[in-house]
Symmetry: C2
Subunit: 266 residues, 2 copies
Amino acid sequence: MKQKTVAAGDSLSTKKRVLITAGGTAEPIDQVRAITNHSTGRLGQEIAKAFLAQTTIEIDYITTRQALLPTANPRVRIHLIESTNDLKEMMEELLTSHTYQAVIHSMAVSDFTPAASLPQEELLQKLYQELTEKPEYLDSFTEFQHLFQELTTVQSTEKKISSASEHLLMVLKQNPKIIHLIKQLQPETRLVGFKLLVGVEKEELLDVARTNLKKNQADYVLANDLESINETQHIGYLVSEDGVVATGHTKQEIAALIVEAVTKGA
Amino acid sequence: MKQKTVAAGDSLSTKKRVLITAGGTAEPIDQVRAITNHSTGRLGQEIAKAFLAQTTIEIDYITTRQALLPTANPRVRIHLIESTNDLKEMMEELLTSHTYQAVIHSMAVSDFTPAASLPQEELLQKLYQELTEKPEYLDSFTEFQHLFQELTTVQSTEKKISSASEHLLMVLKQNPKIIHLIKQLQPETRLVGFKLLVGVEKEELLDVARTNLKKNQADYVLANDLESINETQHIGYLVSEDGVVATGHTKQEIAALIVEAVTKGA
């Protein structure tokens, strides 16, 4: 059963509002290193521009310091974040403060975040010692897995990882799916998700996009392949539950398709 | 025994030349993700500016797209790189083409580069199966280590890592030490290395810097602590074999100290 959320603060304004996310997150490894998802933010720029052509719309725009920003405009509010966790907090704040006609979630969000980093040899030595001293760890896979997890969840006290060992093992844990928050908090909004794959057939790309659309309760998914994106071209398929709605060949075309899809009949 | 390298192309020019590296490397994980070393490139900008005040000096400046660039000047040539491997190739090319009076290596270079990424559960299942089927893998640590290495060096054919598993294990291998190239190729140049630590006592910072200086055959090391760097302040100790040569309190002061140290008597 869907839960309807009425956001506060809307009675003060009759203006329509959209939320755009753009750029890529950076997951901290330590105080000087991060895992970054590459995204220039250029498509987000174009989407903001296309919405602003509709004079009544206001935009909340979540992005990062590394991404290109939309053209300065009093109707665009920029919210800077870094990590997936920052994004989660910002989304929760905005989605519970305003009602959005549409949410265009184009940000490249890291699926995983670093949980621990250990010198490989040190970890293997500990594991070897445990397995030879207590062979019962091999009695079941669950026991064995548990031992490994215990040895890799030792809290590191180092603020910057030392570079002494030849190999480093990094354990990454899955991030919460930020896109799931959107329909949970605003079931009525029109949600556009994005799916980027690399070097796949068109049919596979569209299949993955449709699965993605259902899983994330998105109204549309913009499916694209990194190998069909360059300085002058950006092939994108706007997919709905019924199939491909339209195809864009440039960022401008994709932006126009998205704006048309989420504002029609509104 | 030191090997003296006479670089080609120098007979054409009597101008003095320095090589500056600045910014931070990005090590690719897959086609859309990378491990990045954070560095704004602001100190590099200041160092270039301080050298340019000496009208006879020409600068080769290696940096990344993400870092701030030095002020445009016909005497500065910018060379953009991304990964540590790119940096290595660019350094080799430049150090064998020109003779540098000094090399100021301020770039934050990644110590490790991703070698493999695997879903943790999948890897542990394979490891468990091997260990239970062939207990002889536990006869010696070498055997055990070899098995682990074999299971983690399976070449991934995926261009973008799937996000299906709860935990991901990333194996990182140590990068070659780029700074070692410098004196190998140009034993006569004056080399300034950089050492950044986070939240340590001054004595520890200076000890680490002195060790670093010897190991890398540097003439100077600029030692600094992330916790003493902010918008208006940047504490840096210029360390030589004899101890602390001078202390800078801002990026401008540090830049001036470095330029003075490497150009005196030249």
